[in-house]
Symmetry: C2
DNA sequence: ATTATATACATAAGATTCTGAGGTATTTGT
DNA sequence: ACAAATACCTCAGAATCTTATGTATATAAT
């Protein structure tokens, strides 16, 4: 399971990016997708995910839509217009941060490295 | 200056790695090195740095040595044996996390991408 | 038939780590 | 003379995370 709390703020970016690719997802689905994409190495806990979703919705970046599936309630999230703009911004921010991290941590390959 | 707010958890790794490369550094020097390596984009604040250094020392990963330079006091930090072991561990943890982040955020280049 | 696991939402206490402001003191540049 | 740089430090508050708890239904296992 390794360490899950390494880069603060990347959860929001993960959520937004997954929703850019998928149009519409519900919370539990997001946790499963991340688990599947990382071979179980990153597990988004519900205690982190739901407050993050609620915050993004409160900021107007996500909109919700409740669906009844069998007898279960699902809350689908999708990007608003503002949310779509924010994905790009958050992605390049994170990208930039990772590049800077490489510059600090791998002093050998400073000029042209690949992400 | 972009966003400086993503560093949570990676600051320890940054400190340990810089000390692996440099044998001995003092706090202010670390802030300047990071600023210089990232063209001013990442600024380690003192409110984050000093508590982090004290914590790493308390955990036995760093040792200190006070030096008088002119009339100024400098507190030099260096890796202990435990600290040297921890660098490797923390680095591969961070490396692994960044790889997983790529897997989530760049769904196109899943099989063989470069870090 | 009962129990455990999976699905699906949510909150809340406590821990950790950061920001931003403040404090002390010396040295160097203007 | 004053500002900025050098050098250390602490602390209130914010943000985000973990862990535990709670509700409820569906499915798999014993």
């Amino acid at each position: 399971m390794t360490n899950n709390n390494l880069i603060k703020g990347s959860l929001q970016t993960i959520i937004l990016k997954l929703l850019e690719e998928n149009e519409k997802m519900y919370g539990y689905e997001i946790t499963q997708r991340v688990k599947e994409l990382t071979a179980g190495e990153i597990k988004i806990t519900e205690g982190a995910l739901y407050p993050a979703l609620h915050k993004l919705e409160a900021e107007g970046l996500l909109s919700t839509e409740i669906q009844q599936v069998d007898n279960r309630v699902r809350k689908y999230y999708s990007l608003t217009k503002d949310g779509q703009k924010e994905v790009t911004s958050k992605m390049s921010e994170l990208q930039g941060f990772v590049e800077n991290l490489q510059r600090i941590l791998t002093p050998d390959l400073k000029p042209g490295f690949n992400i």
